[in-house]
């Protein structure tokens, strides 16, 4: 079965929009973190789809896959720091809602 690359692009755009929407709507920091992960993985999918559409049987384009491997690595580091911040917030406020971190004027 051969899925056209355009379908992959549409899927990735949908995932990205879902991530953006969730980030903007939800007030829970952990959910916001999950939405960011969704955005990053949508980008990964787009990278792989683009790499596929640029590749020919005799010449693979590896820039996309390499970028997505770096993205996965960076996303792991980002999640580690993000969850550490969530724990720091919870220790101070016993809550992980973004509204509990609104001491400054905004």
């Amino acid at each position: 079965m051969n899925v056209p690359s355009e379908h992959l692009f549409f899927l990735s755009a949908g995932l990205f929009a879902l991530g953006v929407l969730g980030f903007l709507v939800r007030r829970n920091v952990i959910v916001a973190l999950m939405c960011v992960e969704l955005m990053l993985n949508a980008a990964n999918l787009a990278f792989l789809a683009a790499s596929r559409s640029h590749s020919r049987a005799d010449a693979l384009d590896l820039q996309g896959p390499v970028f997505s491997i770096f993205v996965i690595t960076v996303a792991a580091a980002e999640a580690a720091v993000g969850l550490a911040l969530v724990i720091a917030l919870y220790r101070l406020k016993q809550s992980v809602e973004t509204d509990s971190a609104s001491e400054m004027k905004g």
Binding site: A50, F67, F70, V74, G82, L85, L92, M104
Partner: protein, 487 residues
């Protein structure tokens, strides 16, 4: 992969191009390891200093050499005089933040070691951003700068404001990173390459930008980098994050992050067509207006400096607008931006550092009221802060003045006279709030209700940093020739 491929990639030029980054990265790892040993705080500090100095020397070597390494590693990284100068600016910014942080943390001082590791990591990230000729390298540099900064912003983890600053910075930074990546993916899908060279060549650029996909991608990339330099309309996070972060870290965010993103933007935005100069200039002027008007309303000096940082980002953007608009002098904008950011690192880094010293007295006294009468109580600190305020305001005989002069002359040479005039007027408004700080320190009696805390002696490292910053600001203002020759 055959080993010979690696040999041809990592030739002598590549090694000398990467040497400053390696000095910082190895330094960071050594400091991390030193935390496990019974080495004293002073010995570990020496390690940090050695790493910074060594990286600085390696950058100076590229700057002064007859032949620069140029484009290395198959075209993904470049090391020339400009990136070496940027490297020195980043190292200076990190060094200032580090020296002022030495005695800043009281209850968190047991984690000073981790703090220093994170600081060194940001320097590696900034240098990578400045030298990147490829979106992968730029992204890794960006995250190598950002992720340590999220942790540093929340470093005083028992204080709600610090954690809040870290969290806000993290959430918005990660959101911006998502946009960066999706934008990069779209550009890649449309053009088939991640190299920035596509945008350097007008013919290729025009062909790529024909596709709407690439256009959306470039817009997303620009938005995420504008977020980092805090340009309007992506500046709203700045006041809160700057206020809540530990003050030396705030200094680094204001100076280093901004310089690194501008180093990249200078390359990227110069690829814009001449017709877009007006819109870039408009964004620059709105950014200056928002920053300056916001700063006028602040009572908290740290928050005021945050808004002033937004305004300064607008000034540098004006230089870029001038270059886009056809400044006949080839490196005029680069020189103006380098000089401006070098002066800004010394000035804003020093100003945030002095605020940090006043704060670590225990009392929160970063409000204008708290600064009243500082001239009599701590004349040296007040004098240093005065020099910084004058330079931020662009008074002659300081580095800030010459920086502004260079920026506005780029705009004038590009025949954007109205933009230059509005820019100068906005800078005059800015003087209003800088002078308020000076008046409070020297001409107003101390407020008895908010007493100044004890005159705790200032640590040697902080004294060194503030003296060096004052000296640099004055040197750049009085003897600019050496700096300009190398920029």
């Amino acid at each position: 992969m055959k080993l010979s491929v690696l040999h041809s990639l990592f030739d002598a030029a590549a090694l000398s191009a990467l040497a400053p980054l390696m000095a910082l990265a190895i330094g960071a790892l050594l400091v991390l390891l030193a935390g496990l040993t019974p080495l004293s705080k002073a010995a570990r500090g020496l390690l940090v200093a050695a790493s910074l100095v060594f990286a600085g020397v390696l950058n100076a070597r590229i700057l002064l050499a007859e032949q620069v390494p140029g484009v290395v590693l198959d075209g993904v990284f470049v090391a020339d005089r400009a990136t070496a100068m940027w490297g020195l600016i980043f190292i200076a910014g990190v060094a200032v933040a580090w020296l002022f942080s030495r005695n800043y943390y009281d209850e968190d001082s047991s984690h000073q070691n981790e703090h220093d590791v994170l600081l060194l990591a940001t320097a590696v990230g900034m240098s990578m951003m400045a030298g990147a000729r490829d979106l992968i390298v730029f992204f890794i540099g960006l995250e190598l700068l950002s992720i340590p900064l999220y942790a540093l912003a929340a470093f005083r983890r028992n204080r709600a404001k610090s954690v809040e600053a870290g969290l806000k910075y993290f959430l918005l930074g990660a959101f911006a990173a998502g946009f960066f990546l999706y934008g990069a993916a779209l550009v890649y899908a449309a053009s088939g390459t991640l190299s920035l060279d596509v945008f350097a060549d007008p013919a290729q650029r025009a062909k790529v930008l024909e596709s709407p996909m690439a256009l959306v991608g470039v817009a997303m990339l620009a938005a995420s980098v504008f977020f980092k330099v805090s340009v309007f309309p992506f500046h709203v996070w700045v006041p809160d994050v700057y206020e809540g972060s530990p003050t030396p870290v705030t200094g680094l965010m204001a100076t280093g992050t901004k310089a690194a993103a501008f180093a990249f933007l200078l390359n990227a935005l110069l690829a814009l067509p001449t017709s877009s100069a007006t819109s870039v200039a408009l964004i620059a002027l709105i950014t200056m207006a928002v920053g300056n008007l916001g700063a006028l309303l602040q009572q908290d000096v740290k928050r005021m400096l945050a808004y002033s940082g937004i305004a300064h980002a607008g000034v540098v953007l004006l230089a870029i607008a001038g270059a886009v608009g056809g400044d006949p002098q080839p490196h005029g904008a680069l020189q103006a931006a380098l000089f401006y950011m070098a002066a800004y690192v010394a000035t804003a880094g020093g100003a945030f550092g002095v605020l940090a010293l006043l704060e670590s007295d225990g009392e929160r006294m970063t409000t204008l009221d708290g600064l009243r009468g500082l001239g009599q109580r701590r004349p040296y600190l007040a004098a240093a802060l005065t020099v910084f305020m004058l330079s931020l305001g662009g008074i002659p005989a300081t580095g800030g003045f010459l920086g502004k002069y260079l920026v506005f002359s780029v705009a004038v040479r590009a025949e954007m006279i109205p933009a230059a005039i509005v820019g100068v007027l906005l800078s005059v408004i800015a003087l209003g709030y800088y002078l308020r700080v000076i008046i409070a320190m020297w001409m107003q009696a101390p407020n008895e209700d908010s007493p100044l805390a004890s005159t705790k002696p200032i640590a040697f490292s902080a004294r060194l940093a503030s003296t060096a910053c004052v000296a640099l600001v004055l040197l750049m203002g009085l003897l600019p020739r050496w700096f300009l020759e190398h920029m």
